[in-house]
Each structure stands twice: as structure tokens, then as C-alpha cells.
Symmetry: C2
Subunit: 328 residues, 2 copies
């Protein structure tokens, strides 16, 4: 198996990509193709020992940044690491692609270059969502801000397959993010999506209220990309805010500082539970090949985990399963 990786996309730069790739070829037995500035990547690779020939480099002189307008950048920056990587994937010279670069550009590039599975109306970004119980999968996390009921049905099917095959949940419980649990609640979009999901073959358990999402009452949370992005970002914001309030309260007096010191390991454990970077990348589901958006500030460990994710994605035949289920 050969996995293509954008060497230049992340905030932490190519050095973390190189280290993560080296760790992956040793540990996972995959081959890696790093796309980016050949000279500096080659220089960095020389620092490591790894199985001969397991890592190749493909040169690309340009980089798409978060400041670029996504669709425009994909069309114009033809020699960027992301576009070259996606083209290489589309030409069947690799089994999957990972980038820690611009989410918007990866979405646009995935659609234009890798293209959708026949029958899929929209590709969606699926993200792991940490809960008090473990993890859920949130789909769509922001790819489609204006959705139709049929899209949500397809998101649910794709999310269910991914959740079962990659996250390992048996017959995952799929729910629609809504403002009440009863059937008939919500806006026109979710009401119609509810009806479609009720008739589908997945394990649809109905609506989930936003209040219950952090408790992990369902395995797959289905929503349109606008709502999904709000859910994801608000969750991050709440975690950050509560911890900063907590810190303020806990350092307010000598006595509370002492208490905080005793509890430091507990806070650390809690914080890591809420940390998105612990859970690897977000797959763009609905494309003809596996494409993974790694966290912008991915370090070597996150890169290695994303590579493992692509490996599982391929080995479990997720694309074929989606294609079969959508067209049935």
C-alpha cells in the first residue's frame, strides 16, 4: 500500500511530516510518497533510518496556504503540494492522500480532482467528536453549508459505514442533530431528512438534542455542514473557556493553588480527553479515494495516526461499501 502525503500543508512544517512518515513505514509496513519541496524534504529524510525505498519524494514547488481562496488556489496553484498530491492519487498512483493544509482547498481539490463516487450528491467531512463515554462521529463538519434532505441521508449512510469499519462500532447508532427528540421537531431540512432516514437500512435512532451530544448518546451525529461546524467549534470553545475559568478560580488563593497542584494529573487527563489532536484526521467521505484532512497543527504522532487511518480505510474497503450502499 502506498499513501501520499502533503509535505508542506501543516502549521508545524515538513519536519513533522517526515518524522511521522518514517515512524509509519517502520510500524505499519506501508509505503509513503511525500509531496513537496524535494531538496529540504530529502535533507530531512537523511536524518532517519528506515526500510530502503519505503519513502519516496515527489517534487512540488508551491504551497496552498489558509489565506488562499480555496477553489481559486486549487485551479491556479497547479504545482502546489496539495494539487500534485491529489492528482497523483486520482491517477491511481497511490491508495489515499493526507494533508494538514487548508480544509477548504482540500475539499475543493478533492471534488475537482479525485471526484465523487457515482451516486453521491455531496462529499462530507466526518470528524471524531470526543464525548464523556468515548468518541462519536460528526458528519458533516463543514463541507456543505447549504444542504438538502437527500444529502443528510447520504451523510448518515457514509458515517455509519465509516463508524463501523474504522472506529469499530457494531451497528452504530445514528442520530440527527435537532432541537428536540420527538419526530416532527426541527426545521424543514431535518424534518424531511428524518423521514428519509426512517426508511433507510442504517440503525437510525431518531433525533439527538444538542444537550445530549457531549454525553455520547449516539455514535454518528448527522447534520448539515453549517450546524456541524457550529457544534464542533462551540464544543472546542466551551472546553477552552471552562478550563480558563477553572484556572482563574484555582489560582485565586494560596489554598486553592495548593488544591490545584494536587489535582494537576487529573486536569491533565481531562484535558487530553477533550483534545481533538488525540484522534487523528477527518476523512472527506464520498470521494472515489480516501482523502484525510489532518489537524492543522499535526505533529509526527498525528501524521502517523492519519497514515494508520488511511491504511484501515483501504483495508476495510470503505469506498466500495459506500458505493454499494448508496446505489441500493
Amino acid at each position: 500500500m502506498r499513501i501520499i502525503i502533503d509535505g508542506m500543508g501543516g502549521d508545524k512544517g515538513y519536519k513533522e511530516v517526515v518524522k511521522g512518515s518514517v515512524d509509519a513505514v517502520k510500524e505499519l509496513g506501508v509505503e509513503i510518497l511525500i509531496v513537496g519541496k524535494e531538496d529540504i524534504i530529502e535533507e530531512e529524510l537523511k536524518k532517519y533510518d528506515y526500510p530502503q525505498g519505503a519513502i519516496e519524494i515527489m517534487n512540488a514547488n508551491d504551497v496552498i496556504t489558509n489565506d488562499d481562496e480555496p477553489a481559486l488556489a486549487v485551479r491556479r496553484k497547479k504545482d502546489s503540494s496539495m494539487v500534485v498530491g491529489l492528482k497523483t492519487l486520482a491517477e491511481d498512483k497511490g491508495d489515499g492522500f493526507i494533508s494538514a493544509g487548508s480544509t477548504g482547498a482540500l475539499l475543493a481539490g478533492g471534488l475537482f480532482i479525485v471526484k465523487r463516487i457515482p451516486g453521491i450528491e455531496r462529499a462530507a467531512l466526518a470528524t471524531v467528536y470526543p464525548t464523556t463515554k468515548g468518541i462519536s462521529l460528526l458528519i458533516d463538519a463543514g463541507a456543505n453549508v447549504d444542504s438538502k434532505p437527500e444529502y443528510l441521508k447520504q451523510f448518515a449512510i457514509m458515517g455509519s459505514i465509516y463508524c463501523e469499519k474504522i472506529l469499530g462500532y457494531k451497528n452504530p447508532k445514528v442520530a440527527l442533530a435537532n432541537i428536540g427528540t420527538e419526530e416532527g421537531k426541527g426545521n424543514a431540512l431535518v424534518k424531511e431528512a428524518y423521514a428519509l432516514l426512517k426508511e433507510s437500512n442504517i440503525n437510525f435512532i431518531g433525533n439527538v438534542e444538542a444537550r445530549d451530544i457531549p454525553e455520547g448518546v449516539c455514535d454518528v451525529i448527522v447534520c448539515d455542514g453549517f450546524v456541524g461546524n457550529i457544534i464542533l467549534k462551540l464544543t472546542e470553545g466551551m472546553a477552552i473557556s471552562i478550563f480558563s475559568l477553572l484556572k482563574k478560580e484555582l489560582t485565586a488563593s494560596l489554598k486553592s493553588k495548593f488544591g490545584a497542584l494536587i489535582l494537576k494529573p487529573q486536569f491533565g487527563a481531562l484535558k487530553s480527553k477533550m483534545d481533538y489532536r488525540e484522534y487523528g484526521g477527518a476523512p472527506l467521505l464520498g470521494l472515489k479515494k480516501p482523502v484525510i484532512k489532518a489537524h492543522g497543527s499535526s505533529d509526527a504522532l498525528a501524521i502517523k495516526n492519519a497514515i494508520r487511518q488511511v491504511k484501515n480505510f483501504v483495508e476495510n474497503g470503505v469506498i466500495n461499501l459506500i458505493e454499494n450502499d448508496i446505489n441500493n
Copy 2:
């Protein structure tokens, strides 16, 4: 000033309403009309001392519950405390109405019985949203799940007036809840609303990302009712989940139990900051008269605070200000 209150709506029953009303007439110098089962309310009132004639009772034999279908209940339960109260308000026999009962029924009843201010397209529920800085106002918190750009503009204007006059923010900063801060981000609804808000006279500061909402970067958060309800409920859910995780971590070992004991007052302070009940009721803005939804589990203190809120609402002429601004 005479404020009408639903005696039967809340989870905690008429006794808390009676106590809150007694406290209010003594402290705020208002008159109260409690609507509900006359015999039991009268019996309860006898337990208190208060200025002669300051509290009256109006009999209503029925109660709308959370299990009733809202619009149907308002039409059919004509002798319910909520419907009788709203009718009394509409007949100008009071200056405002408070209920801790079904939100949906209060919305429906407010629209059918009290009616909208001329020029207002939709009434919206405005809720105080606690942040790390203090409080923001969230509008719409769930009244309109399918909104048009023009509604959002009106929500912003009403929210700005209420925030300035009742919450006391000078020239409040109004922002659109969105998935990015830049103009041009978001779904069709918020993009069009953005253009309308840019041309309005309020202090529109652009988009706010969900991640930044808990930090209190704006004073008024504008959104459609579906998104607003998701934001509100997810915030509650996150607070509950983080505290329950914290509790689990902190009671995991003897050492951490000791640390938790030392920090008990700090956790209490933090918890109360996140507690919605500390902030009174949610006004239904856009109606011809002040209508306040008090928290379902309102105790006497919450009821008294809601009465104070109606008093401020009336004294500051919020309805007139909305009417003038909307039609200019």
C-alpha cells in the same frame, strides 16, 4: 404597574410563584395578578404578609403542560392559566406577562393572543448567554427554526435595543453566529443577513465563530432559531459533561478527593457562573406587550427576578423603541 403571572406553569408549582410575587411586591413596588387555581393560590397567599391589595388572583381551572401540542393547546385550553393570562394582557389589564410553562405554547399564545408589533415579521426568543466575561444575549433561541435574512435583521435590531436598555450595555456589539469571521462565509441565509446588517444602524461587528461565543466577544449573538437552540443546548450540555467528567476524575483517588475538597468553593463559584437560572427569564421580543418565558424550574428568586425584568422592560419603553426602529 401591574404584572400578570402564570401561577401554574413551572415545574416547582404555584408555591414558588406565590413566594416570588410576595417578595416582588415588597421589594419592587409593583402589583401582581396571579392566574391559576384560585383556591389553592389564595390558601398559599394567606401564609404571607404583604401590602394590602398588591396581589390579586384570577381563576383559571386548566393548565397547559409540556406534553400538550403547543398551538393546539392554546386554541383548546381556553381556561388554562397561560391562555387566561395572555388574554388579560392583550386586553390591557396588565403591563406584562410571565410564565414558567411550555415554551412552545407561550410562543404560540403570544403570537395568536398578544400579537406582533406592526412591521415585525417574526417574534424571537432572546436568552441571556453566560460567557467568561459576563453575559451576552442570544437571539433567536428557538422560536423560528426556518428563518429568512430579513427576520435575522429584525432579531438583531430587537436584540440590540433589549441588550442596551435591559442588560445595560452601551451601543452593544452585535454579531452573526457563523462558521468563519470573514464576510462571505456561511450559508445562504447568513450571507444575505450579513448584507442587510451592514446597512443597518446598529453596531454590527460582523460574524462571530462558535468557538469565540463562550469568550463573550460580542454582546448580541444573532442566529436563526434552529442554530440558536443548538448553541444554547450544547453550551448547557458541555458544562454538565465537563463538570461530571471533572467529578469522576477528582474522586478517583484519595489524594484527588482531598484536592477536590479544598477546591469545593471554587467549583461552586464556577458552577453558578454557568447556571442559566441565575439570569432570570427569556423575553419573547417582537410582541405588542412584554412576555417573558421564565425557566421551567424557576424558584421564588427566579420569579422575582423575572418580575423585575418586566418592570425594567416597561419602564424603559422597549416595545416603543422596537416599533420605532423597525419601521424606520
